[in-house]
Symmetry: C2
Subunit: 493 residues, 2 copies
Amino acid sequence: MLEKLTPLAESEKSLVKAEVAALKSRLTSQQQQIKQAKLPVIILIEGWGAAGKGSLISDIILNIDPRSFTVRSISPPTLEESRRPFLWRYFKEIPEAGQFLFFDSGWYGETIQNVMCDGLDGKAYRRRIDSINAFERQLTDNGYLVVKFFIHIPKKIQDERFEKLLDSENTEWRISKADKRENRHYKEYAAAWDKLLDLTSPAYAPWHVIDGSERTKRLQVYRILTDAIASALEKQGQPRQCDAPAEEFPLLAMPKLASVSLDQQVDEADYRVRLKEAQTRLKDLHNRIYRQKIPVVIVYEGWDAAGKGGNIKRVAAALDPRGYEVVPIASPDKHEISRHYLWRFWNRIPKTGHITIFDRSWYGRVMVERLEGFCTEADWKRAYREMNEFEQELHNWGAVILKFWIHIDKDTQLERFNERQNTPEKRWKITDEDWRNREKWDLYEVAVDEMLQKTSTAYAPWHIIESKDKRYARLKVLHILIDALEEALKGRE
Amino acid sequence: MLEKLTPLAESEKSLVKAEVAALKSRLTSQQQQIKQAKLPVIILIEGWGAAGKGSLISDIILNIDPRSFTVRSISPPTLEESRRPFLWRYFKEIPEAGQFLFFDSGWYGETIQNVMCDGLDGKAYRRRIDSINAFERQLTDNGYLVVKFFIHIPKKIQDERFEKLLDSENTEWRISKADKRENRHYKEYAAAWDKLLDLTSPAYAPWHVIDGSERTKRLQVYRILTDAIASALEKQGQPRQCDAPAEEFPLLAMPKLASVSLDQQVDEADYRVRLKEAQTRLKDLHNRIYRQKIPVVIVYEGWDAAGKGGNIKRVAAALDPRGYEVVPIASPDKHEISRHYLWRFWNRIPKTGHITIFDRSWYGRVMVERLEGFCTEADWKRAYREMNEFEQELHNWGAVILKFWIHIDKDTQLERFNERQNTPEKRWKITDEDWRNREKWDLYEVAVDEMLQKTSTAYAPWHIIESKDKRYARLKVLHILIDALEEALKGRE
C-alpha cells in the first residue's frame, strides 16, 4: 500500500500554489455547510515520525473556525485508559454533529506500537482489524465522515529530518524514544504499516497515502479532503445502508415472550433464607472479580412496573459500593443525541474489576426509538449488528456481560399500575407516559421478541426473568449472576 | 476536635436497634423528597484506616434507590489528575440535582497525605484550607447539602483491626502502605487531622466526629444525616445568602465602557507585518510554556459582532494544535444546568502546559443569566466572589489567566448587523436573538461595567479591547498575550 503513491506530473507543479489557495477557500465555505448540515467529520492523520503530521494539521485548521474543531494528539494509553477496551479512548472523543475532530495519530499508530513492541499478532491481531473496521463502519453508517491520511516519507528523508531536529536543543525533545526505535527498524515498521493499511481500507473509510517529501503534499491532501466533504454533504440525509448479517454472531435460541410461563413462586420465608445466602455468595464473588480485574456489564430491560428497580436493589445490596455503579438511562441529552447513539454507553463502561449495572440501555434503539420513530428504520435495523459488535468488543476485552429482560404479563402490569395510582406514596412512580406505553404493548412485544432473537449471543446472552413473583425474579437474577462470575473466575485464582 | 466525641448514655443503648431501623426508613422516604425537590446531596466519609468507612457507606446506601446515588472512592491522583488543580477531580464529580454522591475519603484525606508525606505547610497549607472552605461554601450556597463525617478510632483498636486483616490473605490486600504508615505514626496523623478538622468546620458544612469503636456509631450517623436532610429540604427554595466582600480580592481599577475611546486604527500594510511578527513570537512562546508546563486560560467576552471569532482565529493560528483548545460556550445542556454553574467550566480547564480559549464563559452568570432572569438576584450577586475564587484556584495552581472584553459601540454594531443581514454568505451569523439582545444594550452595559469593576483582579485581569478597528483589536490581544507569557516564563527557563 505504501507503494501506491501517485506523484503529480511535472506540468502540474506550477499550478500547485494557486490550486492550494483555491482549495483552502473551498474548505472554508464547506465548513459553514458542515455546520448547517450537522455533518460530523473525523480526520485521522497517521504517518512516519517527522513526516509533518503536526504541521499539516496546523495548516488545515487555519481554514476552519476555531470553535468548530478539536485536535487530539494520541500518546500511549494512560493507566486509566489501559483499564478500558482498546476503542474506548477513541470512541469517547468522537465529535458532535457539525464539528471536526483531528486525530494526530490514533488507533492505527497504537496498533503498530502493539505489533512492534508488545507482540500483537495472530488471532488478537485479526480481532484488532475487525474492531477497527467495525468502528469505522459504525461511524460512517451513522452519518460520520471519516477521512484517513498516511503521510509517507522514505527512510533517507526521515534520517535527515531526525538529524536536523536532534541537532538543536530547542527541537530534540520532539523526537521520542519510540520515534528513534521506528527509525532504527524502519523496514520492519514499513512492512507492518503496509499490512495494516491493506487490511483497513474499505470503501467507506479508504486510506490516502500521501508522499510527505513532495511539495505537492498539501495540494493532494486538500483535494482529497474537500472532495470527500463534498461527497458526504451530497449524501447527507439519504437513507443509509442496512446490511446486518446477524448470522455472523453466535446467536442463542430464545423463546417468544408469549410462550413464557409466569407461574413460578417462592414463599416469603424461603425467599428470605435464599436471598441472604445468594447475597453472601455474590459479595464474596465481587471481591474476587475485583482482585482478578474482571469487568462486568449488566443490562436490565423490562416492562414498566415489572420490578426492575427492586431487582437491581437486591443485587446492589450485595456489592461493595466502591466497585460498582448503577447507571439509569433516560432519554438522551442534547450533547448525547448529537453523537453516535452508542457514545453515551461507551462513556459509561466500567474499569477492569468494576461492575456497571445499566438500568435500561442501548437496547432503547430497537424498542422506544424504533416504535416512537426517533430513528429511521435503517437505523434500528442496523443496530442489532452494531450492538452485537459493541458487546463483542467488551467480551474480547474480558468483560462478563449479562442481559436481563424482566418479564410480566399485561394483566399483572395493570394491577401494579392501579396499585401505584391508588397508593399516595407510590403515585410518583406512575406517569401518563407509562399508560401511553401500555397501549403499545403488542407493538413492544414484537420489538422485544425481535431484539431477543437477534442479540442474544453466547458472549452476551439475554435471560428472560419471570417477575410476576418478584421474589422469584430476584433470586433468579442473583443465581445467574453467581454462576456467570464463578465461570469467569475458573482457572484464574 | 477528635476529642469532641459525645458518647451515648447507658440508658440509650437499649433503644439503639429500634431507632436505627426507624431512621433508616426515614432516610428512604427522604430520598423520594430529595428527588422531587431536586436537592443534590454530598456525603463525605473520612476517618482512620479500618475505622469502617466502607461498611458504613454500604449500610447507608441500602436505604437508597441504587439509581439515585454514586460512590466515589478516592485514590492518590492519577497522572492525568495531577496535571490539574487540587479541587478539579472533586468538582468534576459533584452530583446532579436530586442525586446522592458518597465520597469514601476525599479532599481531606488527600490533604492529610500531602501534609504528612509531601510537606504541605505554611502558606500553601493556609491556601489549601481557603480552597476547601470556598469549595464547600460555594456548593452549599448553590443549593448543595454537604454532610461530613470523620470516623474516629483510637490507635489500640486500629492495631487490633489491622492485625486481624493482615492475618488472612483474603483481607491483607485491604491494608495499603499508606494505611501502615498512618498506623505507625498515629499520633502525628491525629495531630494533623485535629488541626485540619478545626479549620474546616463552618456552619454550612460542619464536621461530625463519630466514635467508630462504639456500637452506637450507626445510630449517630443516621440521626445526623436525616436531620441534616430534613433541614436542607425545609430550607430549599428559600433565597440564599449573598455576602460578597469583593474587597478580599486584589481588584484593579477599570474604566467605564462609556469612557473608552474607539478611535484606534492600524492600516492594512502595517497590520500584515505586525500580525506576522506577533504570531511568530506567540508560536515560540507556546512552545516554551508547553515545555515549562504552564497552563493558560483565556476568556473572550464581548458585544455581538464585535469580532470575537476573527480575533480568536488570529491567536489560534499561532498555536500548536496539539496544545490548545477553543471551547465555545452556549446555553447549558440539561446535565449542566442541574449542577453548580461552574461545573461545566471546571470540566474544561486545561492540563498543565496547555491553553484553553473560552469563547464566552462563566461570566454569562452576571450578564445573560442576570438580565434574562435565568438565576436569582442573590445568585448573580454572589457569583462575582465565586468567579474570583475560581480564578484564584487556577492562579494558585500556576495558570496564566487573561480575560478580554471585545468592545465596540452601538452604531458599529448596527452597521455590522446590517452588513450581515444584507450579505447572503454572512446571513447565518445573525439571528433574531442578536437583535433582541441589541435592544437591551443599555442594561448589558450596566452589567458589563459592574462585572469589570468586580472581577478584574491582579491575577486574572480584564482587558478592554477596542475593536471598532478589528485589526487593532487583534494586535492588541496578541501583544497582551505575548507580554503575559513572557512574564510567566521569567526565571523559569
